[in-house]
Amino acid sequence: MAMWLFLGSECLLFGGLISTYMLYRGRITQGPRPSQIFDIPFTSVSSFVLLMSSLTMVLAVTSTQRRDYERSKLWLTVTALLGATFVGGQVYEFTAFYNEGLGFTTNLFSSSFYTLTGFHGVHVTVGVIMLMALRGIISKNRDTGDRAEVVELIGLYWHFVDIVWIIIFTLVYLIPA
């Protein structure tokens, strides 16, 4: 329940960041325009990666519920790897943008873009850390209560991060300013 509340609260956080971006995305005094730098095929692949990580997360949850801890460790690892791939892709993307002249402080579009996607990236990173920690806990057989619960909760968080990306991908990348 605490998780659902937290996610409800996060809706307002990301809502605020997305609104800021939407308001400011066209306000470009200098530097490249989004259409000049976005690499849609690349981002599509990372979006796909993140989407699939949601699937593997579901598999991790169901296998934990079956007490199939080997499987669940496997799926947790895969999920974490997919997440890490996504973050890696984002780091690559940021670097590429930066080299094309879009610094964090270049203009309002860039500031709000980096803040929004950066916040999302941090959430994914935190998710990856939690997944890894969870894997460690399960493999060391260190119990912190009902495993299925815990995996499920982290799963909820993970899916939430995914749905935020679903929105960001459409609003930020696919719909041009």
């Binding site: 609260s9 605020g16 609104s19 899916h159 929105i167």
Partner: protein, 107 residues
């Protein structure tokens, strides 16, 4: 907490496993989501004309709720969980739409 000792309308946790979704089902849903994503990306290559915006937005919304309802199995959860999450979501939509409207964002 023991169910017998709690108040009648206390929200119970963790009774959702029974109607969790099966792996096969999950994969099916993931495939559908993937297909939708493919369709979204295709708007980048193919000109959809006037449908462009609505298609993207509708796809986005459908994907959003698919993940929430099935992967996060909110669909099967206690009423209270839905209330908590959808209140947040609804409020977010409301306040930010209104705020953007005052910036003449939708004109």
């Amino acid at each position: 907490m023991d169910a017998t000792t709690t108040a009648t309308d206390t929200v119970q946790q963790g009774d959702s496993h029974e109607h969790g979704l099966s792996d096969a089902m999950a994969i099916k849903i993931a495939l559908i989501l993937a297909a939708m994503t493919a369709l979204e990306v295709s708007t980048y290559y193919v000109d959809f004309g006037a449908f462009f915006l609505p298609v993207l937005i509708i796809l986005m919304i459908v994907k959003f709720f698919t993940v929430v309802s099935y992967f996060m199995h909110l669909k099967f959860e206690h009423q209270m969980f839905k209330l908590l999450f959808y209140t947040g979501l609804g409020l977010a939509l409301f306040v930010y739409f209104v705020a953007l409207a005052t910036f003449k964002f939708f004109n």
